[in-house]
């Protein structure tokens, strides 16, 4: 198993594990732990909107203590849950990263925004809608936005991170080392330090 880090078009990065050959159950479990650590690193005690795409009765925010504050909105004919947290707790981030199927299937996003900054949410939704299908091309947004796909959150996308790329790489490297997993950040380094011609 190997973690591959890639740059996103404008400002951001994606990191995911190599799914070829088919990952073992242990690989999936280790990856969940790494995602939990990264999500905690990214959002612990920070304000964020949790956006659920096409929410269902089993969606995570339905079970949160302040679920009644969740706003249900239809944007471009598609239903969304807007759930605001002024300081994301470790417990919430663990619930998201380990075992939440919406997060694993790119149906639960974390968007950094204050409560009155809903325009940022609409910007992200619009950008996502404009892509023909999820991941067909990289949406262009100015907002900090983190989500994962495809089936088991194999790849995490982090747009406009508040942290520097080096900080993120260091954290990823520490997590990978803890589970004895190789980290491949060649693609990212090439973009950050293009060879002189």
């Amino acid at each position: 198993m190997k973690i591959i880090v890639k740059p996103l078009k404008k400002n951001g990065l994606s990191f995911g594990f190599d799914t070829s050959p088919v990952p073992t159950m242990r690989d999936i479990s280790n990856w969940e732990s790494i995602v939990r650590e990264m999500l905690t690193f990214a959002y612990l005690n920070r304000p964020a909107y949790l956006i659920t795409v096409q929410p269902q009765e089993w969606s995570l925010v339905n079970f949160s203590p302040d679920a009644h504050e969740t706003i249900r909105e239809n944007v471009n004919g598609k239903p969304y849950f807007f759930y605001y947290q002024n300081a994301c707790s470790a417990e919430l981030l663990e619930n998201i990263s380990v075992g939440d199927e919406d997060f694993k299937r790119a149906l639960l996003w974390l968007i950094s925004a204050e409560k009155n900054e809903k325009s940022k949410i609409y910007e992200v939704i619009r950008a996502m809608d404009e892509s023909r299908r999820l991941f067909d091309f990289t949406p262009e947004v100015e907002t900090e936005w983190l989500f994962a796909g495809f089936d088991y959150a194999e790849t995490v996308y982090w747009y406009n991170p508040v942290f520097g790329i080096d900080e993120i790489l260091q954290k990823l490297s520490d997590s990978a080392q803890h589970f004895d997993i190789e980290l491949d950040a060649m693609a990212l380094e090439k973009t950050a330090h293009p060879p002189k011609t």
Binding site: T24, M25, I28, Q56, W58, F63, R133, L134, D136
Partner: protein
């Protein structure tokens, strides 16, 4: 007194009316004769004495034929309507009962890359108050994505215990599965009103046939209606269990990963088929039982 014959039921464009005075009374016999297109009627006047005896008999026959035809047609339409509403009603009952019964496996809604699938309601994280499992997807039929570049089946490794093989399927199969799931969902949404309306119509029709009172037809139809609901419930429970066993048995032949999804697919299809089949059998049984009770010598 001479009979009064009225030929108004014969279509006008094919007939010509003649009024023949009756010498025994002041009544008039109205006779209609067919007009032949190639022979103008006025050219060959017919004597009333010649026409009357023959026409009377043929008109009676024609009227009887028409009356008989009308009655048969009405009976046929009523029978077709009764059978149609019974089929529609029992199918709707089956689908509705299948929704109401506690089912371990349910359809996965289309979301994201997923077109359809099955969900295990007894799996997943335990949340809520009182705490209960939120369910987890077991099988998903997904469109192609950046990583798996073809339409594929996902099997949840947490539930099957083996890594997801991302089995390839054709776009046609995916489309068919998605279409079937949507049809089932759409019919499921209207199943209850359809079942109730058809039951009401059937009971109303039987009540009317009994001369607006509860008679033999009403009692038998009521038996059929009640039997349909009971049969759907019994059939659904039996079908889900039988289907799960059969599905697991068949699935086991496809390697270790097959038994769990096999049981899920078998249970889901078995439950639905059992409910629908049970509604028909129950309806028929209910009808027979009601009939034997109503017709029993007192």
């Amino acid at each position: 007194m001479a009979p009064r014959i009225d030929g108004n039921n014969i279509p006008a464009q094919t007939a010509q009316t003649r009024q023949i005075p009756n010498s025994d009374s002041d009544e008039v016999i109205r006779v209609e004769t067919c007009i032949q297109k190639d022979k103008p009627v006025n050219q060959q006047p017919v004597s009333s004495c010649e026409l009357a005896p023959q026409s009377n008999s043929s008109i009676f026959n024609r009227r009887n034929e028409l009356a008989l035809y009308g009655q048969n047609r009405r009976n046929q339409i009523e029978r077709t309507f009764e059978e149609g509403s019974s089929i529609l009603g029992n199918t709707a009952k089956g689908v509705e009962v299948d929704k109401l019964l506690p089912r371990r496996y349910q359809l996965e809604p289309p979301r994201g890359d997923t077109v359809t699938g099955l969900r295990d309601t007894s799996a997943g994280r335990v949340r809520g108050n009182p705490p209960k499992p939120v369910g987890d997807w077991l099988i998903r039929f997904d469109v192609a994505d950046k990583r798996t570049t073809y339409p594929h089946i996902n099997m949840n490794p947490r539930l099957t215990g083996v890594p997801d093989p991302h089995t390839q399927i054709s776009p046609t199969t995916l489309k068919f599965l998605g279409g079937s799931a949507r049809t089932l969902e759409a019919f499921g949404r209207v199943a209850r009103p359809v079942a109730l309306v058809t039951d009401t119509i059937r009971l109303g029709s039987a009540f009317s046939s009994d001369g607006n009172q509860i008679g033999r037809n009403t009692q038998i139809t009521a038996g059929s209606v009640a039997g349909g609901w009971a049969g759907a419930a019994a059939g659904g429970l039996a079908g889900a269990k039988g289907g799960a066993i059969a599905g697991a048995f068949v699935g086991a032949f496809f390697g270790g990963v097959g038994a769990v999804p096999g049981a899920a697919i078998g249970g889901f299809i078995g439950g639905l088929a059992g409910s629908i089949g049970g509604a028909f059998v129950g309806s028929s049984l209910g009808e027979s039982v009601a009939e034997s009770i109503v017709d029993a010598p007192r």
